[in-house]
């Protein structure tokens, strides 16, 4: 049986254990409260109730999900800064040709939106002011064009003017004439040719309508630089072909009407003939001077010029008969009678016969005028007789109306046979 002393010892032991547990529990709560500033145990008073303390706790709930990133937007590429725009496009692997299709129209548009030339001029503006304003406007336009082309060259590597590009797409004639060249070469070549326009225009503009000797020299230098630049685009063979085709285009009727009617010639022979005709001529320079200068040179005449060696070389190439036929085909008197024959649906041979009658009549008239044994009256009578006979012969071929018309031109030519080309 336990006595009081034993019970006391056991009870004190139990007290120590229970008190220790409570102390340990309360110290853990204290540590938790100091670690979280929001976990404050504060006494509060709840109305009507006995409130001893408030226990605040913070709970954090995490939730996660995954979504796809927003896709690519064009606005990530496009910017008003053309250089950055081009760099962005290249950065995403945009092909160079597509980049050109994007950048070139944008640059063109930006430059179109530049200051306008047709700004309203003051109404009471005197001649000097008008002249100065026009000159400044043209200079500004020229500078803008140069700036645009430089920018395009920098951005996309080419500076084809948009008009040139559209012309190459739309027109059949350049396509036929230059179709032997790759598109890029044609456009490069046309850009070279176009590039002289601003410089030529500047010379013309600064001349202010005056024919200035030194300007012709400047224009010749410009033409030479253009030729050098063109040769850099083309191979020597391509360049030779280009110049021959261009010179041929300066002859009459490349794309309209008939040429060299009544002449049998192969393409190889004709190409050689054109080479002979253009040889030794500075026709490119002459064209530039005629195009931008103030001298009254007819561009059409440039293609008709022939070097001194031409007759002999062409005769050797074609033989006498075909050379004569070639000369005939280039004679306006033949073109005229050919037109009449065509209108009446007569064969080409009729035109050739009428033309030959003309040549014979002029030759006879020439002999008549050279005959010193005749008196003026005798010469006059003989000429009238010859004219009569010629008119009848021509009318038999061309009919009454056209025959009479052509006979009239022959009559005039017979009056001054020395002025007629043989």
């Amino acid at each position: 049986m336990l006595n009081a002393r034993s019970i006391l010892i056991l009870s004190l032991g139990a007290n120590l254990l229970l008190g220790g547990w409570l102390l340990a529990k309360s110290s853990r709560r204290g540590a938790a409260a100091s670690a979280s500033p929001t976990n404050v145990i504060a006494p509060v008073i709840s109305p009507g109730r006995q409130a001893l303390r408030v226990l605040r706790t913070n709970l954090v709930e995490f939730s996660t999900n995954t979504v796809d990133a927003p896709g690519f937007r064009w606005s990530q590429l496009e910017t008003n800064d053309f250089r950055a725009y081009a760099a962005n496009l290249r950065g995403v692997g945009c092909p160079e040709n597509t980049l050109r299709h994007i950048i070139v129209p944008d640059v063109e548009k930006a430059f179109r939106a530049g200051p306008e030339d047709d700004e309203t001029a003051p109404f009471w503006e005197n001649a000097s002011q008008t002249s100065a304003r026009n000159l400044a406007g043209q200079r500004r336009k020229h500078a803008q064009e140069a700036e645009k082309r430089a920018l395009l060259r920098e951005l996309v590597g080419v500076d084809w003017p948009v008009e040139t590009y559209e012309l190459w797409i739309d027109e059949e004639e350049p396509a036929l004439a230059l179709g032997y060249l790759p598109d890029a070469k044609v456009l490069g070549l046309l850009a070279v040719i176009e590039s002289i326009a601003p410089a030529g225009d500047a010379i013309k503009r600064e001349a202010r309508g005056l024919d200035i000797e030194e300007d012709a020299e400047k224009l010749r230098a410009l033409a030479q630089s253009m030729q050098r630049a063109a040769l850099a685009v083309l191979s020597p063979a391509e360049a030779e072909e280009f110049l021959l085709r261009c010179y041929d285009a300066l002859q009459d009727d490349l794309f309209d009407g008939d040429r060299h009617v009544g002449v049998e010639m192969t393409g190889v022979e004709y190409r050689e003939l054109i080479r002979q005709a253009s040889s030794g001529q500075n026709w490119v320079e002459d064209m530039v001077v005629a195009g931008f200068g103030e001298q009254s040179t007819d561009i059409d005449d440039i293609g008709k010029r022939r070097p001194e060696t031409f007759d002999a070389e062409a005769r050797a190439l074609l033989g006498d008969t075909r050379y004569a036929a070639y000369q005939r085909s280039r004679d306006e008197a033949f073109t005229e009678v050919l037109g009449m024959a065509k209108n009446q649906k007569l064969p080409v041979d009729s035109a050739i016969r009428a033309y030959d009658i003309r040549l014979t009549a002029i030759e006879e008239a020439r002999r008549l005028f050279a005959n010193d044994t005749l008196t003026p009256d005798q010469r006059k009578a003989a000429l009238a007789e010859m004219q009569q006979a010629t008119a009848q012969a021509v009318q038999q071929i061309l009919g009454q109306k056209d025959g009479e018309r052509y006979a009239r031109t022959i009559r005039d030519a017979m009056k001054s046979p020395g002025n007629q080309t043989r």
Partner: protein, 409 residues
């Protein structure tokens, strides 16, 4: 105190501590509010309130997409290409440029193939002209265009927007620039209105009928009175000057540099003597009388101008109207020479021509003597002009108006 008494006290303490352990070991009862982070409170038991701050954090992870590459939008099927580009928000205008570029490239590649046989025979065809070839090629190219570049609208689903509407903007008319903009716009609207009235007149072939002429005149008068009704008296006076047929007299004067006020004066004086500007037909039966009247009007106009300008300025005005001076001035202007140089050269020209005129009238001289003296005048004048103008400008003048300086001319 005995051990028994201590044991009783200790046992009681045992009971109290046991109760305390029981209370402390009970789990707290929590009541959560429905709100994600709202504070909620509840009373636990009788004397503890637990406030819970619930913070719900949502974290969204975004996939890292591979960088964009042009191949993602490019497609051989152009309608897909368009759709892909539209999907990126590419502007329609840019899409049009891209697709047109693609079509043009297709066109050019196929045109090259098409032209190839013609190119092989180029010179054979050129002998007799490429007229027929052009017709055939044109037809073929036309078909090719239908298959390529002309499909642009069909591929895009709509034609290009007409940008002309957007570009329409206010272009003020210089004749009205002295008016406030609102008034200028009113006048422009009036002009548009009357142009529509004119356009609504029945069309006529050949020469204009007297009825139509009368109607047009009536409309013109209506337009003029409508415009005038908008103007103050000062504005109306300026309007009359600006719409005068003589308003351009001052503008055409080379080397005169008229001020706006001088130009107004010139217009007023020319309007006052308008008969001086009339042309007279030589075939007119009254030609003599009309010509005399015109000359008298010109004399009066000159007198009036003399009264308006000081003598020096009047002399400048007369010089500016002289064609010979105008040619000299153009050269001076081209070489950036001052007006004074042009005046100097013009004086030389006048003196030289006066000498030449006197020589021509001198019957005491033989033809040879006259020719020799004329050549001497010419040489002297040319040398003097070269000194004033400089070599280059003088040479240019001799080719542009100064041909009379060349020997033998």
């Amino acid at each position: 105190m005995t051990a028994a008494k201590f044991a009783v006290v200790s046992l009681l303490l045992n009971v109290v501590l046991t109760f305390g352990v029981w209370r402390a070991s009970r789990p707290p009862r929590l009541v959560e509010d429905a709100g994600s982070s709202a504070e909620s409170s509840t009373v636990v038991g009788v004397n503890v309130r637990i406030q819970t701050n619930l913070t719900r954090l949502e974290v969204t992870f975004t996939n890292e997409l591979p960088p964009f590459h042009w191949e993602q939008v490019q497609s051989d099927e152009l309608t897909d290409y368009v759709a892909n580009l539209r999907g990126t928000g590419c502007p329609e205008e840019t899409i049009r440029d891209i697709i047109r570029g693609e079509l043009v490239e297709q066109f050019l590649a196929r045109r090259r193939v098409l032209l190839e046989p013609w190119q092989r025979r180029y010179w054979d065809l050129a002998v007799h002209g490429l007229g027929e070839t052009k017709k055939l090629v044109k037809a073929e190219i036309g078909k090719l265009e239908e298959q390529t570049v002309n499909r642009l609208d069909e591929i895009l689903g709509s034609p290009a927007k007409d940008s002309s509407e957007n570009e329409k903007k206010w272009h003020p008319d210089a004749r009205w620039s002295y008016l406030p903009e609102a008034k200028q716009r009113e006048i422009a609207a009036l002009n548009d209105k009357f142009e529509l009235v004119e356009a609504a007149l029945p069309a006529e072939k050949g020469r204009r009928s007297p009825e139509r002429t009368a109607k047009l005149k009536e409309i013109q008068q209506q337009r003029e009175s409508a415009i005038q009704s908008l103007l103050t008296p000062e504005e109306l006076a300026e309007h009359k000057l600006r719409t005068s047929r003589h308003a351009y007299v001052g503008r055409g004067l080379t080397g005169f540099d008229a001020t706006p006020e001088e130009m107004r004066t010139l217009t007023r004086v020319y309007d006052q003597f308008s008969a001086a500007s009339e042309s007279v037909n030589r075939k007119d039966p009254d030609y003599q009388a009309k010509d005399a009247a015109r000359k008298e009007a010109q004399r009066q106009r000159d007198e009036a101008l003399k009264a308006q300008f000081d003598p020096e300025r009047y002399a400048d005005l007369k010089r500016a109207q002289d064609g010979g001076f105008q040619e000299i001035f153009r050269v001076a202007e081209r070489y950036d020479l001052p007006r004074e140089t042009a005046v100097q050269v013009d004086d030389l020209r006048r003196i030289s021509q006066e000498h030449a005129r006197k020589l021509s009238a001198n019957r005491a001289l033989s033809d040879e003597q006259r020719a020799e003296l004329l050549r001497a005048i010419q040489d002297e004048t040319r040398a003097a002009i070269r000194q004033s103008f400089g070599e280059q400008a003088a040479r240019t003048y001799e080719r542009n108006g100064g041909e009379w300086l060349r020997k033998g001319q």
